[in-house]
C-alpha cells in the first residue's frame, strides 16, 4: 500500500458547544477520490477547513506524508489545493487577472496557459469581462480553472458542483477520476449525487467508515 498523503488520527471538533465529530480517523491515499458525506450541519465544511489548515479548533493528529502537518506547513500548503464555498474571485477583476493573482503565489504561469485553462472551463470570450458581470456558475468556473493547471497532489474541494450546469458537472467528475488515475488525491463534499468508481467515503453525523 502506498504511503498516505494525509492521515487523520482521532480528530475531534466541537463547534458552538456541539460535538461535530470525535475519534475520526482516516487516511487519504494517493490515487483516490474520497467523499465527505453527512446531512447539513454535520461538519463537512468544518472538516475540510480543518484539513486545509484554516480552522484551528480541533484536537487529534494530522499527518502529512507521515509527519505532523503543522510542523511542515510550508510543504503542506505547497502541495494542497483548497477550494471553498467562497470561490476566492475578486468581482472587480477579470477572470484572467483573478487566475493570475491566485497562481502568482504558487506557480506563476504565462498568460497562454491561464487562457487555455479558462477556455477549458468554457470561459473563452469572457477573459476580459469583470467577474461581477458573470453569472454565479461562471464565477465558480473561474475558480475551477485552477484545477486544470494545478500540480498539487492533494485537492480539498468544498461543494465543488454548486451552480455548475450538467455538462460542467460531468466534466468535473471525469477530471476527478483522471486526477485519481494520475496519482492525485481528492477529497470532496457535495450534495450532488456523486458516485465515482472506487470512491472512498467519510460519513459524518454517525459512524465513520472508509
Amino acid at each position: 500500500m502506498p504511503e498516505p498523503l494525509l492521515q487523520a488520527v482521532g480528530l475531534e471538533c466541537e463547534r458552538d458547544e456541539r460535538l461535530l465529530f470525535q475519534n475520526l480517523s482516516f487516511s487519504i491515499l494517493p490515487g483516490t477520490v474520497t467523499r465527505v458525506e453527512g446531512p447539513n450541519g454535520s461538519g463537512k465544511t468544518t472538516l475540510l477547513r480543518i484539513l486545509a489548515g484554516l480552522n484551528d479548533a480541533w484536537t487529534g493528529e494530522l499527518n502529512w506524508c507521515g509527519q505532523p502537518r503543522d510542523r511542515h506547513r510550508e510543504s503542506y500548503l505547497r502541495n494542497m489545493l483548497y477550494l471553498g464555498h467562497r470561490p476566492g474571485i475578486k468581482p472587480l477583476l477579470t477572470p484572467l487577472e483573478n487566475l493570475r493573482a491566485l497562481m502568482a503565489g504558487r506557480r506563476p504561469l504565462d498568460d497562454d496557459a491561464l487562457l487555455q485553462a479558462l477556455a477549458g472551463t468554457g470561459l473563452s470570450g469572457f477573459e476580459q469581462v469583470p467577474c461581477r458581470n458573470l453569472s454565479a456558475g461562471q464565477q465558480r468556473r473561474v475558480a475551477l480553472a485552477r484545477l486544470l493547471i494545478a500540480d498539487e497532489p492533494l485537492w480539498l474541494l468544498d461543494e465543488v458542483f454548486t451552480a455548475i450546469d450538467a455538462a460542467g458537472v460531468e466534466a468535473i467528475e471525469s477530471l476527478l477520476l483522471q486526477r485519481a488515475r494520475e496519482g492525485g488525491a481528492v477529497v470532496v463534499t457535495t450534495h450532488h449525487n456523486l458516485d465515482l468508481p472506487g470512491m472512498g467515503r467519510i460519513t459524518l453525523g454517525g459512524a465513520t467508515e472508509r
Binding site: 489548515g53 480552522n55 511542515h72 510543504s75 470561490p87 472587480l92 506563476p108
Partner: protein, 241 residues
C-alpha cells in the same frame, strides 16, 4: 495504487519566492482599488471636509488657525485612516481571497505586510500629498507645512500598520466599526501626540530631529511587530468563521 502515477509531492523549495508573492498581493490590491474609485476618494473627501469645516465652525482667525492647524490636520488624517480600515480585509474575507491568501506557502505576515503597505499607499500617501494645500489654507507657514508633511509621511504608515491588527481582529464580527475604533484609537494616541508635538516644536523654532527619531522608532516598531499580530489575528478570525 497506480503504476503511472505522475503527480508527485513537490518540495517546498520549489514554491514562489516571498518577494514575488508580496508584489503580486500588492499589485492585486492596487488594481482592485483603482477599479473601485469611490473607496479611494472617500478618505480624501472626508479629510478635506473635516479640515474645511473647522475654520467655518470654530474660528477663521489667522492666529487660531496658525496655532491649531497642525492638530486639525493630524486628527482629520487619523480619522480618515480609521474610516478606511474596515475595508482592509473585509472584501477579501467576503469573497474568499483571504482564505486563499492564508493557504499560500509563503509566511502569512509578509503577505499581510504587503496588503498593509498597499493600504497605506492608497489612503495614507494621498493624504500626505494633499496636506500642503490644506496646510496653506489654514495659514500654516512653510516650515510648519514641511514638518507636518514629514510627520504624516512617517506617521500614516504606523496608523495603517496598527489599524491592520484591529481590522484583522474584528473581521468575524458583523458590525465591527465601533469596536474597531475603540481598540485602535488608544494605540493611535501616542502617534498623534508626537506628530503634532513635532510641528509645534518646529513652529517655535526648536530642533525636531529628536521628535522625528522617536516617530521613526514608532514606524520601525510597527513595521516589525504589527504584521505578526495581524497574521495571528487573521488566523483566529478565519478559524471562527
Amino acid at each position: 495504487m497506480n503504476a503511472n502515477a505522475s503527480i508527485k509531492v513537490q518540495s517546498a523549495q520549489r514554491s514562489v519566492g516571498v518577494t514575488q508573492a508580496m508584489v503580486a498581493v500588492f499589485l492585486r490590491d492596487v488594481r482592485v482599488a483603482f477599479r473601485q474609485k469611490q473607496d479611494l476618494l472617500n478618505p480624501l473627501l472626508f479629510f478635506t471636509m473635516v479640515v474645511t469645516l473647522f475654520p467655518l465652525g470654530v474660528s477663521p482667525e489667522v492666529a487660531f488657525l496658525k496655532q491649531s492647524g497642525a492638530g486639525i490636520l493630524w486628527v482629520a488624517a487619523l480619522l480618515s485612516v480609521l474610516l478606511s480600515l474596515d475595508h482592509l480585509f473585509r472584501h477579501d474575507f467576503d469573497d474568499g481571497t483571504l482564505e486563499q491568501l492564508m493557504l499560500q506557502p509563503q509566511p502569512l505576515f509578509l503577505l499581510v505586510l504587503a496588503k498593509t503597505l498597499a493600504h497605506w499607499m492608497l489612503t495614507g500617501l494621498p493624504l500626505v500629498l494633499l496636506t500642503p494645500v490644506l496646510g496653506l489654507m489654514l495659514h500654516l507657514d512653510g516650515n510648519s507645512v514641511a514638518t507636518l508633511c514629514l510627520t504624516l509621511l512617517i506617521g500614516t504608515p504606523v496608523l495603517s500598520l496598527i489599524g491592520s491588527i484591529g481590522a484583522a481582529l474584528t473581521l468575524g464580527l458583523r458590525s465591527a466599526g465601533v469596536l474597531l475604533s475603540l481598540l485602535i484609537i488608544p494605540l493611535y494616541i501616542p502617534v498623534l501626540i508626537f506628530g503634532t508635538g513635532t510641528v509645534a516644536a518646529a513652529a517655535e523654532g526648536a530642533q525636531v530631529s529628536g521628535y522625528l527619531a522617536l516617530m521613526g522608532a514608532f514606524l520601525v516598531l510597527a513595521l516589525t511587530l504589527a504584521p505578526f499580530a495581524s497574521a495571528a489575528a487573521l488566523r483566529i478570525s478565519l478559524s471562527n468563521s
